[in-house]
Symmetry: C2
Subunit: 191 residues, 2 copies
């Protein structure tokens, strides 16, 4: 049975991006000194980021992403960097992506349908939920099994919040790894 | 030179109390199943809480507290549970406490004066900042050296926030301890 898991780099004050949607202050541990407009091809994983990503993506069978993340990433150039099929939750299927053989599935029926589709693709592997909006929808609909947090030692002050009023939700800590700079935390959602 | 340190039990979504000022969901790891109106004498430290508290309070030379915390705790019955002198930041000195030999000092000149007074009392020991409002004032005025977070595996959804827009502030992780349930995190404020 597939596990539905969401993971983010989060500032100590609970933001997943700054107010300009820039994530460079939060993902430096993973991909070095990226800027918001850094092209995918120019990104270079740090050793720490490479190890973390390889360990995680090995478990991923499919990704559920919001349309906004898909658009911001410009469709990851046709292939998600983790090499995993992506189910994209959208209001409208983009005609330029739908039928060109890329590993993307567009779902318009809501988050439960997107997760069901991703589980079908993933088989026994993990479904990774990408984007805080989709994560929160999954949490509210009882679809989320795990939350991963890479806790970054910074206070952004303002930005895009990780959580926005979901709860009360009981969690159970699965692991906490004291890495260089960041702390890798994993929680199981108790239902 | 005294270090000024703030420490709180915080939910994964960044609250230090629920919307009714109840902290029982966050301090269970430390003092068991307390309710909001549990009397101090009825509180019993868990083994984990006892160890954490003893290690911390041994380093404390003085505590800076907001008046609200002082009032909510009913003056801790005349003696802070950590057995440390308390400097209370207030607008008005309560006459019933000012001159009765209790280890409390009331300061009306603002947070910088309260911290200076606490440092004077603490000598080389740590000044502990108590209450999120006072912590945030210290952070904004550049008075805070360390932030301690006991990260509790729960989402409260709403409540009293730990941070409220302070930043950007760069932190440096001092330690992350994977304890039973909670994760004990310590950060140095980079100035």
């Amino acid at each position: 049975m597939s596990t539905v898991s969401a993971g983010f780099s989060v500032s100590l004050d609970g933001f997943v991006a700054d107010e300009k949607d820039d994530i460079s202050a939060l993902y430096g541990w993973m991909v070095g000194a990226v800027q918001q407009d850094t092209e995918l091809d120019d990104m270079e994983y740090t050793d720490q980021g490479k190890d973390a990503n390889e360990a995680r993506s090995a478990a991923f069978g499919a990704i559920v992403s919001g349309r906004r993340t898909f658009d911001l990433a410009k469709g990851w150039g046709g292939q998600h960097p983790l090499g995993v099929p992506v189910v994209i939750l959208t209001h409208e299927v983009p005609t330029e992506w739908a039928n060109d053989g890329k590993p993307f599935t567009f779902v318009t029926g809501g988050v439960a349908e997107a997760v069901a589709k991703a589980k079908e693709i993933a088989g026994d592997d993990t479904v990774a939920v990408c984007g805080p909006d989709v994560m929160r929808q999954c949490l509210e609909e009882g679809l989320l099994d795990e939350i991963g947090v890479d806790l970054v030692p910074t206070l952004l002050g303002k930005g895009v919040p990780f959580f926005a009023g979901e709860g009360p939700v009981q969690l159970e800590k699965v692991s906490a790894d004291d890495a260089d700079g960041v702390t890798h935390l994993r929680y199981r959602v108790v239902r």
